[in-house]
Subunit: 337 residues, 2 copies
């Protein structure tokens, strides 16, 4: 790579002072228009890149927020980012996004890199591995260096930073209670979110709703991944007689409905199905899917709002957790009451 | 924000020279282990951040690739990024991703920001607005500053840089030819990719296959968006008698099948449907969807490989366009031959 052009290089080339060059590039009123044109033309010819890192070091702001998501294939995270983009743009900020791919190591690298490029704040949803191991030193490091940190969706309560989550417990509770009201008694819970705070809270909500209704009802849980769902659920259905199914995301609701169809079960006549997320897919599937709406875009907006608030007021405060309520959107994959 | 700790600050605090502090933090052999420990402890206490930008300015590499995608809600782009992540990680690089949201202005901002944070190379898929207006000065700027630039999927042939695309023309041609072979004669083309290079090539492939087969067949095109697809296609079906439909992405194939169902049309008995992308959804829908497989992950890997190659060899070369062939995956949304 060729040597980078510096302010000094431009100054020498034009026989001007470094200060004049710097002011000309910054459009200072002290500099005449003709000198500005001269300097800017030379800067371009010499391929000078006004490095924001260098500028960032001085102004201490880059107007960039770093985001770390665990999985780009989940429609939910894509929607959260749409909300974040909108709020960030409104406030004159840009987003850069890293994908940790459910790997603790990749999460560490992402945080390191975002801190290296001097983002003003970091917004993160933790990987399942981070939540499983409870290893959070790398997150504490971010706080130690006074970089505002906001967690969303998958948060860790041992960390002294703000977070936005949905009321996962109540979302699952309401979904289960609805199935019970429509007459289902053998309701299974299918989770692709094993070992995450979100998955655990939904499981608790499901269990609580069952036992509140009738404490002889037995919770039945299927842990799976999207890639093995058809097999795992298929085997489960062969061995268990169910009339209701709650899944922890939208894709798994749809894959489950397909598996049920393969097994000769009608939805909702034989088995009612409720998913989480409420994307376009749930609305457009046949039958359309009853879902727990997670307000992903609202969550994204809130996370950015909190990050910007903390950025502008760096005084220590007790961590605040904002909880967004879910909504049960009833469609045709469940029976009517 | 508190003043940032500098090397000088640490040096003064410990009564050491700046050079000693700098070498200690860089683990130089010239410095004793005890001094290194002393310096590193002080650096942490004083919240010194060894700024990679500053480091980047010296080493001229940040080991980071910047990616700009037009739309995060398209499963195709998510899959491309999965492929990019894999290849980047394998080579010791990190990715940062920006979403331009189909806006030329946002694309410009993203490029500016990525160049500001000194990514080593930029990989981009253009927004529909960029392709529509053919405004590419901001992309030429990136090339002017010797930052390796690679375009993927949506490329612009006026730019002197490498690109990876799929054979969109042949993908659409093959899909149309297959429908003709199964007996369809009134095949419509539904596009959510108006004004993009990709959409135009697919349209041409569709038109060519029709006229090659029988030049009295009339192409019928529906331009729409996912949000208005149900209405637009519904109106079209009310006014046109079709027996085949090709859509430009996976979601629109599924939304279309739902719209057809609402209109009382059976898939594939009344209307055969073929989509593009081939995600999990196409495989798991009912009926499962015949699709043109776009090899998204392979495209992501290739794009990173080209970027790294250009990074390590900055000599001028004629732009190379790599073309990935598609594959028609036949499932149950089409009739058999």
């Amino acid at each position: 790579m060729a040597t980078k052009t510096t302010l000094k290089g431009i100054a020498e080339h034009l026989n001007l002072s470094i200060s004049t060059v710097s002011k000309a590039l910054a459009d200072s009123q002290e500099i005449s228009d003709s000198t500005k044109l001269l300097v800017k033309t030379a800067a371009r010819q010499l391929k000078y890149r006004p490095n924001a890192m260098a500028r960032g070091l001085k102004s201490s702001r880059t107007n960039t927020l770093g985001v770390v998501i665990p999985n780009i294939m989940h429609n939910f995270f894509a929607k959260v980012i749409v909300g974040m983009e909108e709020e960030a743009t409104k406030n004159g900020y840009s987003l850069v996004t890293c994908i940790s791919n459910e790997s603790l190591e990749k999460e560490k690298q992402s945080l390191h890199m975002l801190s290296d490029v001097s983002v003003d704040a970091i917004i993160i949803s933790l990987t399942s591995e981070t939540q499983e191991t409870n290893e959070i030193e790398h997150l504490k490091d971010i706080l130690h260096y006074d970089i505002p940190l906001v967690m969303f969706d998958r948060a860790n309560s041992d960390l002294a930073c703000d977070s936005v989550v949905i009321n996962d417990y109540k979302g699952a509770y309401d979904a289960t209670a609805y199935l019970l009201k429509t007459g289902c008694r053998n309701i299974a819970f299918l989770s692709t979110l094993n070992n995450t705070s979100v998955g655990n809270k939904r499981l608790s909500g499901y269990q609580a709703a069952l036992s509140d209704y009738d404490n002889t009802l037995v919770p039945k849980v299927v842990y799976t991944k999207l890639t093995s769902l058809e097999n795992d659920l298929g085997t489960f259905i062969d061995n268990n007689n169910i009339d209701g199914l709650i899944t922890t995301d939208e894709s798994s609701a749809i894959y489950s409905m397909n598996t049920l169809r393969i097994k000769g079960k009608q939805v909702p006549e034989d088995v009612s199905v409720i998913g989480f997320t409420d994307g376009n897919l749930a609305r457009n599937y046949f039958p359309s899917v009853t879902t727990v709406k997670q307000q992903a875009e609202i969550m994204g907006k809130k996370a950015v709002q909190i990050a910007l608030k903390n950025l502008n007021n760096k005084e220590q405060h007790e961590p605040v957790q904002e909880v967004i309520e879910t909504e049960l959107v009833i469609r045709n994959s469940t029976k009517t009451i």
